[in-house]
Subunit: 774 residues, 2 copies
């Protein structure tokens, strides 16, 4: 390998530091208007009337919309719910006369400046009928609770159930039964760049749109559906990169269809940008309450596993209808057990709508099951590593949910052993036995034993990818894909894959930064840890096609068979005869130039077949569902007087098949732990129950770990199991490091103090309360 496995510099590094104009927030069009949304102050209300006449007359206002002006076709904003499905709710409207959460848009204005648009909002008079609201999903399921959506009885959006084996017999055969309830909170991904879009109406029912969304083709699909136009009428321009997403920009928000309709009405491009407050009330990780009941033999072998999960979907299902499934999947597929049953419920409330967030239901699941597993080990005196090795899935196992698929790489034992060794797990003290006075220290761990690259693990989804790889006559290569870099460094990783396949140096590689849905093949979203594996395979395939053509032309030029050639660092050469060589630029020029080349012996031999751009195309589904596996180990210090918890040391061990870019992978882990520690200890979106106002709508009120709260040391261990179906052996990376911190920290707090914390975030108040209960 000449490029894979190297910590190459990110091509977008400078722009990332300077906030360069490539970011969607800096995108402008001449004559562009600025749109703003008027949002309901009521969490549940009926709009009796809206008067926009004063707003329309404000100089500079070019278009005003209310629910009267927008299509009333119900949709779901999330891409990976098929628009034609009957089983998952289509319950959103661009604007509606029925308000279901505080902050729901009820009118929109486009004006020549954002300030004028804001002023105009104040001139709109809305007459609301305040309706009774419900904020707790368990209350929402009770008889007599306010009903949010027709057809969703007891406010249940979806209620999936999965069962394997005989759960009753499993519990009957158990030596011990453990029960526990675990709750998780509403958390925001805290991307740096706000959600933003610029939409332009082109006539003939057609729109062009730039957006900070994480998925080009998802936006095309959803926007077309909501606007009731054919998909090809929507052209989505890919931004070079977006300023963070983490799943929070997976779905179409209100701004995209509203900007499109404002553009249509005004005849000018319309830009809409969220304030930070709007971002906070737009997307969050869904809170889930998990009840676990687990039967085990004396030796720790599982005999029965039961889980019941209640998800607060908020006012509309969107991701809440899918997060619940992935959450169940994460629990079901984590550890092997013959007898398993899971019951999930996604419940409507008058809270804000949920969204995607790195891990997508898995953090909530893993917090529950790894907390309980720790309790099982502690109670039964089992070694936590051996307990997990015994119950986890094994290399070669059949996939738990997808018939016919097997686990082809799975270095679970090495992941556990190397991580435990590095943190010193074997040497840790018994609970409460380390430290003195008010300072207690503890070590905890959590395994995230199974995940998938993309949604390939789901039996009804094959998330596919495509790419175009084109060689330029100067020996460089342009790589085009619909895959959006959300800050995860995928531009670098994908270019490394293409470079390795082509035999080019990284300096010769360039990602095409503004392709669009008309030219590049479909790519699934940047989500679900899928890019390196899924998009990587597609880019490798396209690069392989281009290389094939490169070798064909070079073969003619070198009078050699293409099979006898290799490409190394931009040089095409005959294997074993390195002086018989040409640069890739020579070959690409010869192919693309319309001119026959002349040599001292006259015109060089040329065939028609070798003329043309050296270019490769792919569009393909990934063949498998490789299983990364990861374990987190933390050492914490608990101040028993203040309840404060400080994570001092992190060891993270992850089987990712093959490391493409070590520095990039470390960055993923560090960012993941930053989000994971925040989720574990401090982050929570909160609303004033009376006014519906978000109390944590800015970074002064919504606390995330800063450098002060972060551990001084994060050690990443990358285990390379070489996934046979992956690009150069790689499988997925991004999410597991966000999933393991919370249970590892909770388990470390138990080890430090003997107190078992089952509710996130583990605030000082909760620690003190738990310690008081001892």
């Amino acid at each position: 390998m000449s490029v894979i496995g190297k910590s190459v510099a990110r091509p977008d590094a400078l722009d990332k530091v300077t906030g360069g104009k490539a970011y969607p927030v800096n995108f402008q069009l001449p004559g562009m208007l600025h749109g703003k949304l008027l949002r309901s102050p009521y969490p549940h209300a009926k709009i009796l009337s809206i008067d926009t006449s004063a707003a329309e007359q404000l100089p500079g206002v070019k278009a005003v919309l209310t629910h009267h002006d927008v299509p009333q076709r119900k949709f779901t904003s999330v891409y990976f719910v098929p628009t034609d499905t009957k089983s998952l709710p289509q319950d959103l409207l661009i604007m509606s006369d029925h308000v279901r959460f505080a902050g729901q848009p009820v009118a929109a204005v486009a004006a020549t400046s954002a300030e004028i648009a804001e002023q105009a909002l104040e001139l709109i008079e809305v007459d609301y009928e305040d309706l009774p609201a419900v904020f707790d999903p368990e209350e929402a399921m009770q008889a007599g609770a306010p009903q949010l959506h027709d057809g969703a009885e007891n406010n249940i959006a979806v209620a999936p159930v999965m069962e394997f084996g005989d759960i009753e017999a499993g519990f009957a055969g158990a030596d011990h039964i453990f029960e526990g309830t675990y709750t998780t909170q509403r958390a925001h991904t805290c991307y740096l760049e706000p959600r933003v879009c610029v939409a332009e109406y082109n006539g003939n029912d057609g729109y062009t749109i730039n957006s900070s969304m994480q998925h080009l083709f998802g936006l095309r699909e959803k926007l077309a559906f909501a606007l009731e136009i054919p998909e090809s009428n929507v052209r989505v321009i890919k931004p070079p990169y977006i300023g963070g997403g983490f799943g929070g920009k997976l779905d179409m928000s209100y701004i995209e269809p509203v900007a499109a309709l404002l553009s249509r009405k005004s005849g000018r491009p319309v830009r809409m940008e969220h304030t930070r407050y709007e971002d906070f009330i737009t997307t969050t990780r869904n809170p889930i309450k998990v009840y676990l009941k687990t039967g085990v033999k004396k030796d720790g072998t599982f005999t029965a596993r039961y889980a019941s999960s209640i998800l607060d979907a908020g006012a509309h299902a969107t991701h809440g209808a899918e997060v619940i499934n992935v959450h169940g999947f994460a629990w079901l597929s984590s550890y092997h057990c013959e007898n398993m049953k899971w019951e999930g419920k996604s419940v409507y409330t008058n809270n804000m709508i949920g969204g995607g967030y790195r891990g997508y239901g898995a953090p909530q699941a893993c917090f529950a099951f790894e907390s309980q597993n720790d309790e099982i080990c502690e109670t039964l005196g089992l070694d936590p590593i051996e307990f997990r090795k015994k119950n986890a899935r094994q290399l070669g196992s059949a996939h738990p949910l997808v018939p016919g698929l097997t686990i082809d790489s799975y270095a679970m034992e090495e992941v556990l052993d190397r991580g435990a060794e590095a943190i010193g797990l074997a040497q840790r003290h018994p609970p409460g036995a380390n430290g003195d006075g008010t300072t207690k220290r503890g070590i905890g761990m959590a395994l995230f034993p199974f995940w998938v690259s993309g949604c390939v693990g789901f039996p009804d989804i094959y998330e596919h990818s495509g790419a175009i790889v084109k060689l330029n006559v100067d020996g460089t290569a342009d790589v085009a894909t619909a895959s959006v870099d959300i800050g995860s460094g995928q531009i670098t990783t994908l270019l490394q894959i293409a470079a390795e396949e082509l035999g080019l140096p990284m300096a010769a590689m360039r990602m095409v930064d503004t392709s669009d849905t008309t030219t590049v093949p479909f790519d699934a979203p940047t989500h679900a840890s899928r890019i390196t594996y899924g998009s990587g395979l597609a880019i490798k395939a396209a690069a392989g096609e281009a290389k094939k053509r490169l070798l064909d032309v070079a073969g003619t030029m070198l009078e050699a068979s293409p099979e006898d050639l290799e490409v190394v660092d931009g040089i095409v050469r005959v294997k074993g005869s390195p002086d018989t060589a040409l640069t890739v630029a020579d070959v690409a020029s010869r192919a693309e130039s319309p001119f026959i080349q002349f040599t001292d012996q006259g015109p060089a031999p040329t065939t028609l077949a070798e003329k043309g751009t050296i270019i490769g195309l792919s569009s393909m589904a990934p063949p498998s569902n490789p299983s990364p596996i990861a374990a987190g180990f933390v050492e914490v210090e608990v101040d028993t007087e203040t309840g404060e918890v400080k994570v001092d040391r992190v060891v993270y061990s992850h089987d990712l098949g093959r490391v493409i870019n070590p520095k990039g992978a470390e960055g993923q882990v560090e960012g993941g732990f930053q989000q994971g520690i925040g989720y574990a200890l401090m982050e929570e979106i909160q609303f004033d129950p009376d006014s519906g106002t978000c109390l944590t709508g800015c970074f002064l009120d919504y606390k995330i770990p800063t450098a002060v709260e972060m551990p001084t040391q994060i050690e990443s261990i990358f285990v390379e199991s070489n996934e046979p179906t992956g690009p150069f052996g790689a499988k997925s990376m991004s999410e597991a490091c966000v999933v393991v911190p919370a249970p590892a920290i909770a388990n470390a707090i138990y080890n430090a103090t003997g107190a078992r914390l089952k509710d996130l975030p583990i605030t000082p108040e909760r620690v003190l309360a738990a310690l008081g209960e001892l």
Copy 2:
């Protein structure tokens, strides 16, 4: 055929009529500056000094450039001269201290408005040393003439010679020898939209550029070369269409590199747009003086053909170095003769630079040889149709210049017979015998017996093309190509080809309107009548790839072998079983959707291989050099008192293999004759010999035929010979109808008056002079 051969409406019709914003002249970027050029009033001068300090201090001025600030690497602006050639001159500089024509740019300003930039130009002080100038190419070749370029002895840029057989023996064996000298003038293509560009410097030596040029990849190549940067540092955005080109926008002009450098210096995008005056002094058909000497047997068979052509290249060779070759080629390949010799000279003068113009050297050649052929027939009493049939090339003949190629379709006899029949050639009167008083009527004709689609006819050029054809989930198709529509209707034609290949209706087809050099494969320029044949073949191939995938997926869905399927009007069906069918949208959705589809029997069978976008790619050289053949027939009325000539009736007969879009083809003919009649009778760019000022720098002074001057009737006869290598049998169309009008009109004037006019344009003054000589 369901789409080919139909007069479908142009998708760009509305924009064409309204001058929609898709045209480059309407392209804007936020923060864009406006650039202007200061041009030399001297035709030949040395710049002693330039003082730009006052201009730089004018408020609003953001950048000023002189020859001190630009790379001094010599280049040629024309794409189809390889940048590494030794044999063709690289003699241009972006700016130089040596002025060689009046109007040469000597400084440039970018300012916040075009008005400020103009003002700033007036503040620049240039100290010139006036040098002696030469304007006549024959004088320029004399000893003692001012020398324009180092290394071009006697101002000869290139002097190609080609010889076949034994020219002396051929003349010795002739019964008659005919000699004549024919001159042609400087003519402008008169595109409607001025040359315009917007360049943006992106840092890292990289530029993005929108331009009205006719060739994306040519601009990339030339700009990179002139700026001394790698080609991949230049990203050229394709405009949806440009407002006319006709060859006049084939080459990079000064504005593209100047705008790029002004953007680099100012840090802002820079727009530059030509005034109409600037357009007139930027591009012209090169004047050529042709001496012909032809030996014939009594029966009209050629025994020897000799030609000598002197081309006025102007101050820089650019197209002048290639037009001379194509001109020679047009003469050499027109009629068969065992003994031929041609000597060409392209000569530097202090005139404006030449450019491409529909026909590219052929109008000058055809005017000469078809005038002389008419004289031969008239002198020897030969039938003009039989004379041409005897001497023209034949179906199956070897290509005259390209070894190994044969003429596969060539309906020369039908073209001649049907045209002659329609105009009534056999019934025409003897010279001077039709009409009375001062009104004389005459009929004339000219054959353009050989041409090529693109430059494939040249042994050292294979002009290749590529395309991407992508099916959308709504059953529509996006076609992407680097080929620029210059107003010729190629969007329509190419979409028809793709539609026919895919089995889709035209309404489902869309041309991607702003692709760019990073994503789409190379395509040769929109020139040389090559688009329908060359780009058409590539688009057909890409559509064929997409269709293959479409049928594969449909085969799975319909449980049929792909070979048993056909696609008709958007429906995929089993041949002979039309009820076993799916829409293309069904199949494309199934392939692109990540979701398995469910039927009443459970999940529909799916394989990984069928998942992905249905998309096809091509990049290929055309396999042959098909020979369109065309004849023009005109009837004129000559006023012998005023010398005015009116073309009353036109019959145009053309073997184009297969008509793709009859209305579009007729439009080509009508536009071609408009340009051809103007060339024959009135158009000429003229300069004041003292000041160098262009005297015809606007449409008040440069006369082109209006509705009043155009004939009331233009009859197009399209002969369909079915070119076996062409897309659905098609070959080329655009240029022949510009080539034949001048000789046909001159020959008709002879038939009307007995006067032989050998100098273009045939103005009333020249007619009167010729009549006075009788």
